[in-house]
Amino acid sequence: MELAPSKPTSGIANVGRLSRRRSRQIRERAIELLLMSATLVAVATTLGIVFILLKESLVFFRSVSIVDFLTDTQWTPLFSDPHFGIGVLLSGTLTSSAIALALAVPLGTVLALYLSEFASARVRETAKPILELLAGIPTIVFGYFALFFVTPMLRTLIPGLPGFNLLSAGLVMGVMIVPYISSIAEDAMRAVPMSLREGAYAMGATRLQTALTVVVPAAFSGLAAAYILAISRAVGETMIVAVAAGNQPNLTFNPTEQAATITAYIVQVAKGDLPHGSVGYQTIFAAGLTLFILTFVFNLLGYWLRKRFREVY
């Protein structure tokens, strides 16, 4: 350790100190580079996804025209007379997602409003971890629940409902998404400054009036982000529909029928032994690309909206 700076130091010690500083700098730089390369793995993952999906889909689109892909009303890739109309799978995805959102959006919003504006701290601190646990349940378990619990229950209510149907899968998917919506929406509402609420209370507004006319508009972009991320989640959900909605490609918007979604189709084909380069192999990448583009748009929109509500306050 250096005590007195005025003391003349030998040249050798000086060199030693300099090189120590130098080696310290090199080490710091090396660590920074190492950390940066770890970050690049995430970037490489995205690039890898885009590359693989495009590469395999391009082979597919060499034999099937994009127009057919988007407009054909049949999806029978493994038949002797193959048709590749992605719309068939999309109809299943849209129907099950619509059912899920029809349940999850009102339920999640009411829960978020209640927890953020009405519930006592104790209720909130108990309810939130339970909702988080609900969100942590594996989707295959929800799929099991849809097939063996919700479907039999629905069949007593709706006679003639088939054992596989979009309704049951969609409803369970909705339950799965509720905690997701309520947690993002609640975060957004809690970020609304107290002074806005106090202003409303001072004008004689009740809690509900304050919540609906002050808090909800102020948290709007956060709420919108919650809904959009929920859409993306519903569209990409796989196991619930693969287990409970059936695997029959079916151009329908009727929730009481069975149908395959994009995700369920991929699982069904990939589950069997699939020769690399076969038509079946290529179709799952084309279907995956469609799915990726759909969710990508929603994710970007959700990211942008979420960032906005964070920045305002």
Binding site: I52, E132, P138, I140, F292
Partner: protein
Amino acid sequence: MAVPVDLRRVIERAKRRDVIFVVLGLAALAFALCTFVALFANMVSVGWSRLNPDFFTSFASRRAENAGILAAWVGSLSVMIVTGLVAVPLGIASGIYLEEYAPRNRMTALIEINISNLAGVPSIVYGLLALGMFVHYFQLGASVLTAGLTLALLILPVVIVATREAIRAVPGAIREAAYALGATRWQTVKDHVLQYSMPGILTGVIIGLSRAIGETAPIVTIGAVSFIAFLPPPPVSTTFPFLSFEWLWSPFTAMPIQIFGWTSRPEEAFQANASAAALVLVLMTLAMNAVAIWLRYRLRRNLNW
């Protein structure tokens, strides 16, 4: 100007609506709780009779009453080891870089958008990535290694986001104090920032792993099968060189795959197996989540900067 009687009625109506909404909120909460309870009650009532020691020590079988989850839970454990070993260092390193090192420029913003988008990519798309990349391009096959790497990429955003949030919560004064004593950036990060943010990071890691253990779609896509009647070779042996990494290349099955396989069987007896296995899986993920939630609440209580 309203007459006082009318005004009172208006106020009463507004207050009644408040009460109605509270009832609505409680009903929503009750609905969520009931689903939770129904899910559990169903699994317990159908699967309880199958939950005996033999169930954990038997391989899958064509006869439902003999089938067990040995290969499944050993497979899940092996895959989780690979996932953890890959995702944890990578995720923490990325989190540190983005919070402590990265310049605030367009490049960093792009990386941030990219990570947030990755967190929203459907898990089955990761499966397609793995099928094209790991299985066919790198020729790793439907092995423990492929599944572990796939799930590691899947939970990477979770670990990164948790690390960043934990690091962001460490006040700048801690860093300034370290710099003032001549510490380098890395010394500051390693000896101070990381120490304080460790519980938060750990929470994120556990939540990520609990998500990975329940993921089905990506590992179905890479071609994992549900009927496996052997275990991966053990990592340690009594003969030279004592350590073996052959288990990484072994075919495997996992808990969610096993459940999926059993739910697809038409025989009712397999339904009991599916629900017993589902119960085990849920208890595993719930236990992991509970630890994470407990860590976080304890953390919030104890830390007052």
